[in-house]
Structure formats: C-alpha cells, structure tokens
C-alpha cells in the first residue's frame, strides 16, 4: 500500500483486447443479436412516422399529405419495413425476457429461439400485410 503513489505514475499497461466481430464465423444467434439492435435503431427513427401520423390526423389539411405518403410505393416500402422491424424487435424482446428468467440458453434452445424469431417475424409481417391489402381492396 505504501507504494501506491509511485504505481499510479506509471504509464497504462497494454492490456489484452478481446477479438472483435470479424474474427468469428457468423452464426444465426449472432446475426439475430445484431438485427435486434438494428431494428431497435430503425424503430427509433420510425417513431417520427407515428408522431407525424398523429399530428396529421389532428389537422384537417395535413392528413391528405400523410395518406399520399402512406399509399405511395416508397411509403409502402418504409411502412412494410417498419412493420417487420416492429414485429422482429418485439419477438426478439420476448426472447430476451425468456433469457432474463434464466431459461433458453441451451445449445438447441437458443438456436430454436433465434430461428423462431426470424421465421415468426417474417410470417406475421407478410400475413398482416396480405390482410391489410385485401381488406383495403388495393393491389
């Protein structure tokens, strides 16, 4: 303890660094982890659309512009992506909540959960959009 002062004046030592992403072979669980973060970040900016939608609905003149955007092909593409990101992030969140209870970490369980997350999000998104386009009568 007496030599603490002299130790603190030493330059910082080179500590070993853990290898980063590009070292590892991509796996499904790794990709799902990355996609969870990317979809979260996408939804972050997607909230602007929700705020715009609500603000436009509260204005008799502004709603037409939102509807024009939402029915344009670029608007549809963004909304389709937003739907998938929302559902994927939600199912990924359920996976994280399962992990929070200490379950689902086994080799087969985590692979099954990752696959279910991806298949589930794509299936629900496509079914939801088929339902919406059919009920709206728009091709």
């Amino acid at each position: 303890m007496a030599d603490t002062r002299s130790l603190e004046r030493r330059p910082p030592v080179e500590r070993p660094l853990s290898p980063h992403l590009q070292i590892y072979k991509p796996t499904l669980t790794m990709m799902m982890s990355i996609v969870h973060r990317i979809t979260g970040a996408a939804l972050y900016f997607g909230t602007l659309l929700v705020a715009w939608w609500l603000l436009a609905a509260a204005s008799p003149t502004g709603y037409g512009r939102f509807q024009w955007f939402a029915s344009s092909w670029i608007g549809r593409l963004i909304l389709f992506g937003y739907t998938w990101a929302l559902i994927h992030h939600m199912l990924g969140g359920v996976r994280h909540l399962i992990w929070d209870t200490g379950r689902g970490f086994g080799p087969s369980e985590r692979e099954w959960l990752a696959a279910a997350n991806l298949i589930g999000s794509i299936t629900i998104t496509v079914l939801l959009w088929i339902f919406v386009l059919l009920t709206m009568g728009v091709g």
Binding site: T47, A51, L54, A57, S59, Y63, L86, L97
Partner: protein, 130 residues
C-alpha cells in the same frame, strides 16, 4: 484484496465508496417498458388497421375517443422511454470520445422527449378539440 497492482484501474480507487444506488434503474426500466410495449404495440397496430382507408374526420374522431387515446398515450410514453434507454446503450457502446458521447447522449434525450411531446400534443388535441 485485489489483483496484481500493475493492472489496477481508477475503478479500484472508486470502489471503496460504494454504489451510487441507481445502477440498475435503466436496466429495470428497459424490461418494464419492454413488457408494457407488447400489449400496447399490439393494440396500436390493431387501432391503426381499423383506421386504414378512413378520411381525416373519422380518423380524428376514433383517435380522440377516450379508450383509444389513453392506449396510444401509454404506447407513446412506454416506447419513447424504451427507445431513449436503448439508443443511449448504443451510443455508449460505439462512441468513445467523451465530449462526443455526452453530446449524443443529450441529443438522444432531446430527440425522444420532443418526439414524445409532439405525439402527446397531437393526441390531446384529438381528444380535447381541434
């Protein structure tokens, strides 16, 4: 008491003072809002689908009805809190320059509070009169 003296970090000197008593607040809130977001998001999507194809007057009337407006206010509050914490984690993971990190963490909070305020304003306007 501790590992080899030569790899001691400033953390070792801080440890003796105990915790700041708030270390798990964001961790807990992220899970709390995650659980809340599940039924609130499903409800918001159902509300959105029922509104498709309606004109502004009909949309405004439904969005301003008590149950729908309250569900959407809760949805906005919960998701904005969740995304503020999530984006802060991303910033803290990737931005290592101290001043850039603090600037982005602040900008993140400003963005989330502003987007939330706009959505809440719109919902209150829809509820209490145009």
């Amino acid at each position: 008491m501790s590992g080899p003296a030569h790899i001691r970090t400033p953390l070792a000197r801080v440890r003796g003072f105990g915790t700041a008593k708030s270390g798990t607040r964001d961790f807990w809130r992220q899970r709390l809002t995650a659980v809340a977001n599940i039924p609130l998001t499903i409800a918001a999507v159902i509300i959105l689908i029922t509104l498709l194809g309606r004109n502004q007057a009909a949309t405004a009337q439904i969005l301003g009805s008590p149950a729908v407006a309250i569900i959407l206010l809760l949805f906005i509050g919960s998701t904005v809190t969740h995304m503020k914490i999530g984006m802060q984690v991303i910033i803290e993971d990737y931005v290592h320059d101290e001043s850039a990190k603090l600037t982005l963490v602040m900008a993140n909070t400003f963005f989330c509070v502003t987007v939330g305020a706009v959505a809440v304003y719109a919902l209150l306007k829809l509820s209490f009169g145009l």
